[in-house]
Symmetry: C2
Subunit: 281 residues, 2 copies
C-alpha cells in the first residue's frame, strides 16, 4: 500500500493502472475510520482492481465555529485499517495541496444544499461539493463510494456528478450501527457517557417513525411531533431538525406516500449527530 500526498504523483500511479486496464474504485474519507468506512472500502475492493482511499479533513466544509481543529486525526491507525482491507493507495494531501494560495473555485448544488443540515451549517455542502469534485477530477474513478448515514451528502453528490456530467458511478452504502443502534460516526468519540446513552434516542425516534407510518399514519407533522417529543425527553439532547422529505429532492412532505427520507440532526452536549432511514410507506 502506498501513501501519496501529491496529486500529480497519484495521477501518474492511476494512469499506469488504467493503461493496464484496471478498474478504479474510490472511497473519500476524512479519516478517523470506523467500520462504516471499512464497509465502503471492502465493497470497493470487491468491485475494482485499484482501490484508492482519500484521507483529508476538508476545511472548506467546516463552519468557523465547528470542530475542524478537534476533528479526530490518526493517520497511523487509519493506514493500518486501510492495509487490512487491501487498499492499494491512500491519498493523503495537505491543505495547501488541495487549496493552494489564491484558490477561488467552488461548486454548489443549489436548493438541495440549503435544507436540512445545510440550513444549520451554511456553506457546508458547498465545501463538500467542491472537494468531491476536485477528488473525482484527480482520481477519475469508475466508482466512488459514500455512506447513507450522510443522506443529504449522498443526494447532493449524486446530483452534482449527474449535473456536471462526471463519468463516475456514485454508490451509496447502508449505514452501519453499534449493537445498541447508534449510527457509526467519527464524532461519536466526542460523547460523554451520559450523552452516549442519550444518543440512542436518535435510532429510537427513527424506529418510532417507522412504526407509526407502518401503522397507517400518513401525516408527516404528526410523525415528526412524536419523534421530537421522544428526543426532547433526553436531558443532553437539543434538536436541530427532524424532517420527513422526498428521497431525491429533499423537499418536505406533508403527506407520506411512496418512499421518503426521515432525517434528524440532534446535539448531545457539544456534539452534533445525524441519522436517517429511508422507508417506503
Amino acid at each position: 500500500m502506498k501513501i501519496i500526498t501529491k496529486f500529480s504523483i497519484l495521477q501518474k500511479e492511476i494512469k499506469k493502472g488504467k493503461k493496464q486496464g484496471k478498474i478504479v474504485g474510490f472511497v473519500p474519507t476524512m479519516g478517523a475510520l470506523h467500520q462504516g468506512h471499512l464497509s465502503l472500502i471492502r465493497r470497493a475492493r470487491r468491485e475494482n482492481d485499484l482501490v484508492i482511499v482519500s484521507i483529508f479533513v476538508n476545511p472548506a466544509q467546516f463552519g468557523p465555529k465547528e470542530d475542524y481543529a478537534k476533528y479526530p486525526r490518526n493517520l497511523r491507525l487509519d493506514a493500518q485499517l486501510c492495509g487490512q482491507e487491501k487498499t492499494d493507495i491512500i491519498f493523503y494531501p495537505g491543505v495547501k495541496e488541495m487549496y493552494p494560495s489564491g484558490y477561488n473555485t467552488y461548486v454548489t448544488v443549489e436548493r438541495l444544499s440549503d435544507v436540512l443540515c445545510g440550513k444549520y451549517r451554511p456553506g457546508h455542502f458547498k465545501g463538500v461539493a467542491t472537494v468531491v469534485t476536485k477528488l473525482l477530477n484527480i482520481i477519475n474513478p469508475d466508482s466512488a463510494y459514500f455512506g447513507q448515514k450522510d443522506a443529504q451528502q449522498a443526494v447532493i453528490i449524486k446530483k452534482l456528478a449527474g449535473d456536471l456530467n462526471m463519468p463516475v458511478k456514485i454508490k451509496i452504502m447502508p449505514t452501519l450501527r453499534e449493537r445498541d443502534g447508534l449510527a457509526l460516526s467519527s464524532r461519536n468519540v466526542y460523547l460523554s457517557p451520559a450523552e452516549r446513552k442519550d444518543s440512542l434516542v436518535l435510532f429510537q425516534a427513527l424506529k418510532l417513525a417507522k412504526d407509526l407510518i407502518r401503522g397507517g399514519q400518513k401525516d408527516a407533522t404528526k410523525v415528526t411531533a412524536k419523534m421530537r417529543h421522544l428526543i426532547e425527553k433526553k436531558k443532553t439532547a437539543k434538536i436541530d431538525y427532524v424532517s420527513i422529505v422526498g428521497l431525491n429532492d429533499l423537499a418536505p412532505l406533508k403527506k407520506i406516500t411512496g418512499f421518503c427520507l426521515i432525517a434528524e440532526a440532534v446535539w448531545f452536549g457539544k456534539t452534533r449527530l445525524i441519522d436517517n432511514i429511508i422507508i417506503g410507506s
Copy 2:
C-alpha cells in the same frame, strides 16, 4: 465529420478514439463562427488527432435582458466551416441535453468573476464556468482552446481548470481583427454602419494606451482617462468600463509595472463589444 447531439454518444466516440491512442483537442463555441474561431480549430487540428468543436448557445451565461434569443445561429454555415477545417466531430447539444429539468449545480470562480464584465453581467461567468466544466467533463480533452478576445473568460477558465484539478491544458490564442482593427466577434453583425465606424475606437483606444505606456506613462488612471476621452467622442459609444488590471488576478493597477491587461467594454447602440491587449511596460 459527425454532428452529435447526445453526450452519451459523443463519449462513446471519444472513448473509441482514446483507446486507439488518439490525442483529443476541443474548441468550445457558441457557433456563428468567424475566423477567430477557425484559428482555434486550425491550431487544435495541428496539435491533436481528434478535433471536437462544440456549438451551444449557453442560456446560463446570458442575463435576462441580454441577447440570448437573437444571438446569431446558423448550424449549416458553421458545419461547413468546421468541415473545411477538418473538424472530426461537432457536438451540438440542445438546451435540455445540457440542462435537464431540475438542473441545480453551478461552478463559480470567486473574485475573478465579479470584476470587469462580471460587474456588468452578473451571473455571466457562473454560466460560463458551469458550461465549460460540463463540456470538459463530457469530452475530457487533452487540450481546450479559447480566444484571448474574451480575456476575463480565459483567466477564469485557466483558474477553474487548475483549482478543480481538471486534467486538461487550457490554450489561449491571440485575438484576430478585421483589417481596420475591430476584433472579430459574432456580435459585430449587430452593428449599424455608423456603429461599425464608431467601434474602431476600441482598438484605437488600446493603441493610445500602448503608446502612452511605451512613452513612460505609469499612472493607470491617467491612461484610462485618455482612453475614455477618446471613446466618448464617438456618438454611438457608451462605456461600461475601461480598466488596467493584473494579468492573473484581474485586480486594478494604480501604477503600471510588468505585464498588465488593458480591457474595455463599450456599447455601440444596442451592441456591447469588448476588446483588450496585454502589454509589458
